[in-house]
């Protein structure tokens, strides 16, 4: 079989699809991580509030 420009296009498309899906998955993980970070900061803020006095018993 002779290699045609079409064949290189299919080869490029397959590898591009793999990297695109991987990038989307990593972006999805990153977004979840940022949400988690925001929630942790919110928790820290609540712990720092004067008068709460509940920092110690949070972890067993």
């Amino acid at each position: 079989m002779t290699a045609t420009p079409d064949h290189f296009w299919f080869l490029f498309s397959a590898y591009a699809a793999i990297w695109l899906l991987l990038a989307l998955f990593l972006a999805h993980l990153g977004r979840r991580h940022r949400v988690l970070e925001r929630e942790l900061h919110a928790l820290e803020e609540r712990l720092r509030r004067p008068g709460d006095g509940n920092a110690a018993p949070l972890r067993e």
Binding site: M1, T2, A3, D6, H7, F8, F10, L11, S13, A14, Y15, A17, I18, L21, L22, F25, L29, R32, H33, L36, E39, L40, L43, R46, L47, D52, N54, P57, L58
Partner: protein, 235 residues
Amino acid sequence: MSLRSRVAPFADRVLPPAATLAMLVALWCVFVYVPNEQTMGPVQRIFYFHVNCWWAAYLGFFVAAAASGAYLWRGRPEHDWLAQAGVEVGVLFCTMGLVTGPIWARPIWGTWWTWDPRLTMAVILWTIFSVYLVLRSAGREDPEITRYAAVLAVVGILDIPLIMISVRLWRGMHPSVISAPANKGGLEDPRMVTALLVSLVAFALLFVWLLWLRYEGLRLRSEVQVLEDRLGELA
């Protein structure tokens, strides 16, 4: 010192550069090192990543099934996190396999898709584990839904042996390159075997890294939830 705290430094520091380096070497092997296959030409180079996408997907689903079985038996959340991480990473690689297959098939078979037994079973596998993800997404932390999903993961992997034997069992048109001899559609050059093995190492490292990232995400999510609940109780 727990197993997790011993594994964490290795997973966080070693896995990302190791996976990246291995992937770069694999790409060099695929695009520079291996010769063109005689019948298919350059399109055959899709094979090295396509096959490894499927192996990584199978590995993800096996991890998920084993962890789901352990969860059903012991009820520990760590097993559930591992199962969910395994399915998510498995579905990612399964999707890659389902996308790259038709791209290879179009110039070789002349069609994007055919309802060949192996292809059909592969779509069924993707559907089963996508349903798992939908269940987990809809059910949140509902223990009953978690158990149903665990059963689905254990039953779901029964499709994998069927995919493996489908070509011989139902005489499908999907090639079986790995088990075939070199003169009957197998790998004709030792460099092709090397490229396949290097890609396998790269995909294994990428798989473990992604599984670890997702497992840690689910563990932290659960810890935050516990802290929020306790703060709510104290407020």
